[in-house]
């Protein structure tokens, strides 16, 4: 549709990392070669994925770069892929973060290097697949496929309690997602199709038999799988464990992209397929999101462990996303999308920075550090920049998204906005306080005096995040131009609801 590459570009972006992983399996175990190949491969994927925003027709409705081929005739499964303004940026976020993950793991992973990069590239394919599939079966396929490489990354390359964290992560997501599978199978049994667009239209027309009776359960089936992934309070307990034990690259992709699978799913499937149920269930979901924002922030404040602190800050930030989605306003959804991207960049950056400290000192305890600004000035400045982006300083990316979300939340119900806004204050408290304890003052622990500043490849991994944070903060319109029409589409089934809410 868009040009001669048209339908194949999405498949290409999705499967180039997998091809790279297969290439790595046959390469001999020379660690340097493997790192270089993995890096090149992820860079090629990023280059290819840039094709999407460049050739994307902004302002058009529906999906673009679509490919729809029959895969299995019975059951009726199609290889149906395509993107809209929502999924496109999440794909680009994934392909942007993966090369940085390769860079940040360059020196820190030295055991089983080959396996590590194979898993990383397989994970990238699965993540991109989640965002590009438009067939529910294909979606579930990729959704489950993300589980194995991530669990292995945590379990094999993680820290002390890695096995516990990996198994907990796996079981939480697995148990939640089988309910989504049951819901998908029910929809297939009634409609005879797995195609997202077909099912959405049939539901909208009221052509699905027995739908009204089952709709609430189906909504919950999907919602549970997504809520655990986000993670929405009170399903968040796997996240701190997974993050603390995961290797740096694992944390970056986990926080940067994996969590967005949940919010993306809510936006695409809960809102898209079940608009009425979304409306009915919005009050308690928003309540949980608000609890998540405030609770996550308060717990983050008292964490002695830097990675745990960032993990809980994710719970808080993702609460904003859910709040924005279930405000059902144009501005709220735009904001939710923007927070997803901004959080991916800034939290990805924070985890990389935490990983750099861990490489040097093998600990994440905040109390171990203090006064690092004098031995590591470049590191301190980079850290400050990313922290400010995460806090939501105007002109950096965090601000735009949170502002839009709160704007939407106010439109929906002022109290949502008021409570949500406190989260912005909390996030400034815990992040800046952490920054102060780690970097300012005198060097409290003499070991830290000898710490080396950022190395070349570390700069190469972190600085692109900082640049992206700045560009997103200064020129959000570059992103929002594609997001806005897609969000408008997503809201169309809810239009009636929206006008009602606005009139109140």
């Amino acid at each position: 549709m868009n040009d001669e590459f048209g339908p194949y570009i999405v498949s290409l972006v999705t499967f180039v990392p997998l091809a790279g992983a297969i290439l790595l399996t046959i390469l001999p175990r020379r660690d340097r070669d493997i790192r270089v190949v993995a890096f090149l491969c992820s860079l090629i994927t990023f280059g290819l994925s840039l094709h999407l925003p460049v050739r994307f027709h902004r302002g058009l409705q529906g999906f673009q770069f679509e490919i729809d081929k029959a895969w299995i005739s019975s059951p009726n499964i199609h290889y149906h892929m395509g993107i809209d303004g929502i999924s496109m940026w999440l794909v680009v976020l994934t392909t942007f973060l993966t090369p940085l993950c390769v860079l940040i793991s360059w020196k820190s992973v030295h055991d089983r290097v080959k396996e590590f990069f194979i898993l990383l590239l397989v994970l990238e394919t699965a993540l991109i697949g989640v965002f590009t599939s438009l067939d529910l079966f294909l979606f579930y396929f990729f959704w489950e496929a993300t589980l194995i490489p991530m669990a292995l990354l945590i379990g094999v390359f993680g820290h002390e309690r890695k096995v516990y964290a990996a198994v907990k992560f796996f079981m939480y997501t697995m148990i939640a997602s089988v309910f989504m599978l049951a819901a998908i199978l029910w929809l297939y049994a009634q409609t005879g199709s797995f195609d997202f667009v077909v099912i959405r239209d049939q539901i909208a027309k009221g052509a699905v038999p027995n739908f009204p009776a089952a709709a609430q359960w189906l909504f919950l089936g999907f919602f549970l799988a997504f809520a655990v992934k986000v993670p929405l309070f009170p399903f968040h307990t796997w996240l701190p464990d997974a993050h603390v034990e995961a290797p740096t690259a694992g944390s970056v992709l986990l926080a940067g992209v994996l969590l967005k699978m949940g919010t993306y799913g809510m936006l695409r499937f809960n809102l898209g397929l079940f608009p009425d149920q979304s409306r009915h269930n919005a009050p308690w979901i928003v309540t949980l999101a608000l609890i998540g924002i405030i609770y996550g922030a308060l717990v983050a404040m008292v964490q002695p462990n830097m990675k745990k602190l960032i993990a809980y800050s994710s719970v808080s930030h993702l609460g904003f996303v859910v709040l924005g989605i279930f405000s059902f306003t144009q501005s709220g959804l735009n904001g939710a999308m923007f927070v997803m991207l901004a959080h991916g960049i800034s939290t990805g950056g924070l985890f990389m920075l935490a990983g750099i400290l861990h490489d040097r000192r093998h600990t994440y305890e905040i109390a171990e550090f203090g006064g690092l600004a004098s031995p590591m000035p470049v590191y301190a400045v980079s850290y400050l920049f990313i922290v400010l982006a995460s806090v939501g300083l105007p002109l950096l990316n965090g601000f735009v998204g949170e502002f839009l979300v709160l704007n939407g939340a106010f439109q929906a119900k002022p109290i949502y906005g008021i409570l949500g806004a406190t989260g912005v204050i909390w996030s400034a408290c815990y992040l800046l306080w952490m920054f102060q304890r780690v970097f300012y003052g005198k060097v409290t622990n003499p070991v830290n005096n000898g710490m080396a500043d950022m190395r070349g490849f570390e700069k190469a991994a972190v600085w692109p995040c900082a640049v992206a944070a700045l560009v997103m903060g200064v020129a959000p319109i570059l992103w929002l131009a594609a997001i806005d029409p897609a969000v408008h589409d997503a809201l169309a089934p809810l239009a009636q609801t929206m006008s009602k809410v606005v009139m109140q």
């Binding site: 299995i72 005739s73 019975s74 059951p75 089983r112 579930y140 396929f141 990729f142 489950e144 496929a145 589980l147 194995i148 669990a151 292995l152 379990g155 094999v156 890695k162 096995v163 990996a166 198994v167 796996f170 079981m171 697995m174 148990i175 089988v178 309910f179 599978l181 049951a182 199978l185 029910w186 297939y188 049994a189």
Partner: protein, 514 residues
């Protein structure tokens, strides 16, 4: 003078009759040949040579299955029916045997077991299973069941010096004979109720039978016998002990091939007979097997026992597909169940091939602790086992995923929402114990010396075959599913085509009137 020869002529088997049992004949001939050759070659050489003969036998049998498939129809006075259903299961059990024989080469050599009887018994067992899949006469099915069971009883006790293996064999034998007796009693009662032991005739007679209680009792007894053979709860108690004691390749064999054949018989009994009053029976058996199997597996530390409980759970998933009542739902149920047996066979045979290699001499290394660090010391085998375990969990791109998927979507189409929910929750719980093996292999470092032996050619071939089959069923399930769907139509008695002599005659005037 003129009538008698006609009847006699009918009773004399024709060439077609023999073609329709060609795989069984081929396997039996090869089995006998192995028995005859066994004393002639000396023990050192016999391991490989006889194994090779047995493998060639299965390959020839596979070819003859293809040949047999070209001439479908009845044989031996309507006791055997060759249609795509029976061809499917014939092919499946013989293919399982071929892969198991390949993976046994190394095991036989390491354990120093005299190989002749072993390979011959596998072939004889497969004869029985093939008969079970193509017979439509309950007595013949019973004979097939006995042939296959007796072979597996002996095979289970093949580690002669191990007490646990003898225990396994004896337990299997005693409980198994008890179960077959149940089946036989059921057949007898069914004969009493309908006056026939032919499945086609029974299915016509049941609706008009005067003694419905007798029919129900007969079906229940037959289900007990078959439930034992497929290790479905509540007839599953024997499984862990037997699987623990039996030689690992034999477990790979008996957890797949006899089960597949028993499921084929169960499909005939449930769907072809269209057994009345079966729904809650199967519902409860399915739910119980899934739950008890998975919960039992959670606490196991012996990998063979763990996989034994997992096989109970998988029998439960399979039985979900049996809980269908209407004809259309039955069609999807049958095809889902057939696909499941094939996928389960591929992944389980593969998993046990790896387990029997790791077990080493005298099967010393079969606990989870022994598996620690294997991801580092033998990465290829560990990766293969991981793949099979992921398939058993039901992760995409493996056959196990599509198998579960088809079963649950068939169940949802039949509106079995609760059974599906029990199933999906169980498969999530089940993920935990398979994961424990993966965790042990990759995420822990080895604490004791576990010898690593190189992979032999036979094992390598067996593993790659099972890998390819699992992957094929996971990526391109279309073809196998189509065959299964086609077979399902053969199995269900169609009102117009099932029995030409009985139904077509009254049907034709109606057509003429139209």
């Amino acid at each position: 003078m003129t009538i008698l020869p006609a009847i006699l002529l009918q009773a004399i088997p024709q060439t077609e009759d023999y073609i329709r049992i060609l795989p069984e004949l081929v396997l039996a001939i090869f089995g006998i040949a192995i028995m005859l050759l066994d004393p002639l070659v000396d023990e050192e050489k016999s391991q490989k040579a006889l194994g090779l003969v047995a493998f060639v036998g299965t390959i020839v049998a596979l070819l003859s299955t293809w040949f047999m498939a070209q001439s479908p129809g009845m044989a031996f006075s309507n006791t055997i029916r060759i249609d795509s259903f029976s061809v499917f299961f014939n092919f499946l059990v013989i293919a399982i045997a071929a892969v198991v024989i390949l993976s046994s080469f190394e095991y036989m050599a390491v354990q120093k077991i005299r190989a002749g009887e072993y390979y011959a018994l596998i072939l004889f067992g497969v004869v029985g299973m093939s008969l079970m899949s193509s017979a439509i006469e309950l007595v013949l099915i019973f004979i097939g069941l006995e042939i296959s069971s007796i072979s597996t009883y002996i095979l289970a006790g093949f580690r002669r010096n191990e007490a646990s293996s003898s225990e396994s064999s004896l337990k299997y034998f005693l409980l198994g004979s008890f179960a077959t007796a149940f089946f036989l009693y059921g057949v007898a009662l069914m004969f009493g109720a309908t006056g026939s032991t032919n499945i086609d005739i029974i299915s016509q007679k049941i609706p008009t039978s005067s003694s419905q209680v007798l029919v129900l009792t007969a079906l229940a007894l037959m289900f007990v016998g078959l439930g034992f053979k497929v290790a479905a709860a509540p007839f599953h108690i024997w499984t862990p002990d037997v699987y623990e004691g039996a030689p690992a390749p034999v477990v790979g064999f008996m957890s797949t091939a006899p089960k597949a054949a028993a499921f084929a018989v169960l499909m005939r009994v449930v769907f072809a007979i269209n057994a009345p009053g079966r729904f809650w029976f199967l519902w409860v058996a399915a739910a119980l097997s899934m739950t008890l199997g998975n919960i039992g597996a959670l606490v196991q530390s012996n990998v063979k026992r763990l996989l034994a409980y997992s096989s109970i759970a998988h029998a439960g998933y399979l039985l979900v597909a049996f809980a269908m009542t209407t004809p259309e739902n039955s069609l999807t149920g049958i095809s889902a169940a057939m696909f499941y047996t094939a996928a389960y066979a591929a992944m389980n045979v593969g998993a046990f091939a790896v387990v029997s290699h790791f077990a080493n001499a005298d099967e010393k290394y079969v606990t989870l602790e022994d598996y620690e660090g294997l991801g580092r010391s033998s990465p290829l085998l560990a990766a293969a086992l991981t793949f099979f375990l992921l398939s058993l969990i039901g992760i995409p791109i493996t056959g196990g995923f599509f198998a579960k998927f088809y079963v649950f979507s068939a169940a949802l189409r039949a509106n079995l929402i609760w059974l599906t929910l029990i199933g999906v929750v169980n498969s999530a719980i089940g993920a935990y114990y398979y994961l424990r093996i993966i965790v042990a292999m990759y995420m822990r470092e080895s604490r004791k010396e576990v010898p690593v032996t190189p992979i032999s050619f036979g094992l390598g071939l067996a593993l790659s075959l099972s890998l390819i089959a699992t992957l094929y069923l996971g990526i391109l399930p279309n073809r196998v599913l189509q065959i299964a769907q086609h077979s399902a139509q053969d199995l269900i008695p169609q009102p117009s085509a099932a029995n030409p002599s009985a139904t077509q005659v009254p049907a034709s005037p109606v057509v003429a009137q139209q």
